[in-house]
Point group: C2
Chain length 323, copies 2
């Protein structure tokens, strides 16, 4: 971190996103690529991605003729969820009741697609730096016929820990972080936010319920309200860190769904990961390249340093504070 930075600097944010743009396919009343017209929605709005990476009827690659050449069909659906009818807001600028509506929509889509698919991945790419090509506040939902790699890894680790220690890994982990306090960012009645011990992105966080909850639909109304509230605080801190609309990829991980949903998944604890790319300022990012791609992640600051910086930041958004 002491090295003077002479590398790439990201372009500054284009600040002027119009509240409504009839040519933006995510806006109420706009016509999408497939010719459908969006309703004049006033809360969240869920629709099929017009350019899906997963399709329900993807062909099977056929049998493998060699142990080094194995492929399997990947089937599924891709949806887009708008968070709000306006293009010029983001989650931290929305009200707690508006965010609560998003939480409910996440729970419903998990239930709906989870009836058929074993994995429902909700994720948000925020900001151009994270490959997001539309400023309208939205996330994506990709449901798949298989457990993706990272889901499989979390399944293995949580299962192994439970069988060795008799309790869910992330319940014990949250408990320990509450005792140690050095990596905590925010706590509330029902939730914890911390920079995990294993963090590799500079300001990576983990959002955990305090109660043992396996999936989003299990959250009680009180836990959902509290989640909306703690998300608003976390994302406000993120925006305040470099006084910018803070980019990140985030997503939810919970117990697998689909036909095996009734099996014993007690080793799972619901959680969200936030992976922000920024390191030094609003325009200087962490590059996960070279050594990271070929050998191992290396940290530019410690999780304890990151947690402390985030903890100290105000919970009032820099755009909303009094001048």
């Amino acid at each position: 971190m002491k090295r003077p930075w002479q590398g790439q600097v990201e372009p500054p944010l284009l600040k002027t996103v119009p509240r409504h743009d009839p040519h933006n396919p995510l806006c109420p009343g706009a016509t999408r690529a497939n010719g459908e017209v969006n309703p004049y929605y006033d809360g969240t709005f869920l629709f099929d991605n017009d350019f899906p990476a997963l399709q329900p009827d993807a062909p099977s690659p056929g049998p493998s003729d060699h142990p080094l050449f194995k492929a399997e069909a990947a089937r599924g659906v891709c949806k887009v969820m708008c968070f709000h009818p306006w293009s010029d807001v983001t989650l931290p600028l929305m009200s707690v009741p508006e965010i609560r509506t998003v939480v409910d929509a996440w729970a419903s889509v998990t239930e709906e697609l989870g009836a058929q698919y074993p994995w429902v991945q909700i994720f948000e790419n925020k900001g151009a730096m994270m490959g997001c090509s539309n400023p309208h506040p939205h996330c994506q939902v990709w449901a798949s016929s298989f457990l993706p790699d990272i889901a499989q890894r979390e399944e293995r680790s949580q299962r192994a820990y439970q069988s060795q220690h008799g309790e869910p890994l992330l319940m014990e982990y949250g408990h320990q972080e509450l005792l140690r306090r050095e990596r905590l960012v925010l706590t509330s009645e029902h939730w914890l936010v911390l920079v995990p011990f294993w963090a590799v992105w500079p300001f990576q966080t983990l959002l955990l319920p305090r109660r043992h909850v396996r999936r989003l639909p299990e959250l009680t109304p009180a836990e959902r309200d509290d989640l909306a509230c703690i998300m608003k605080k976390l994302l406000t801190k993120y925006d305040n860190l470099f006084e910018t609309s803070f980019p990140y990829s985030m997503g939810w991980h919970g117990a697998p769904t689909g036909s095996e949903a009734g099996a014993n998944w007690d080793h799972w604890q619901l959680h969200a990961h936030y992976y922000p790319p920024l390191l030094r300022s609003a325009t200087i990012r962490k590059f996960m390249v070279g050594y990271e791609m070929l050998a191992q992640a290396q940290r530019d600051l410690t999780p304890e340093q990151a947690a402390e910086r985030l903890r100290m930041l105000p919970e009032v958004h820099y755009c909303l504070g009094q001048k």
Copy 2:
């Protein structure tokens, strides 16, 4: 790939890198951050990184008090290797004998640092898009007291394959790709370049010796000359793909070194990985975000499509061809 791109576009390349800049710490005769003055080198030049991520005397984190909180000391050294005295060249614009000098320097540094350290990671971050902050042609060498994560994974896979099938995984893999041909990019007397079956970056390639070679220093003079030649061809194709100085991270993986170097590492096959970020053009990259960070890599084009595009490209650099 059919989706119209409205997302981030990278800034165009600054074309005018001066051949010599006395303020650039990588240039011959320049003064570095630690006060040392570079020699007027005329081939390659190896020196200690002034901002090392690994240090030989890093303190030990002390014993762990909980199975979820384990840390170990990471010790090592970080070096920088300049490829050429001029700042305005890149490997594909260097002559084959000049590239051969780089190959020899890679072999020497592996031997030198491998005497003490179990893993010597040679890697090149090329281009601002890959976090490279200095245009002078160079790579880095990080030697560590431990096998990094990805080295461990390659060790496990290659060991398991050898014990199950009685031959090195990558020898059989290269053999199969030579038979199938659909993912080959370049072949020469001693080397293969292919887009691997498992590629996730759009134009990712794997560079493999045909003979069973465990580490860089084992390469014969003929293999080294041929390597210089095939690297020049591959990197020329890369530059020609979008008519730009093609960014990438690349690195070498070979059998572990250090005190265990004498053990049986016959399951290892030396290879280099190239991971380029570009997808659609010189300024539109692949974003490994969202679903990729939280679930699984998804491919925007198939390895067979990528290999075919690379195969068709000329082996004369677009900057050197006749006008």
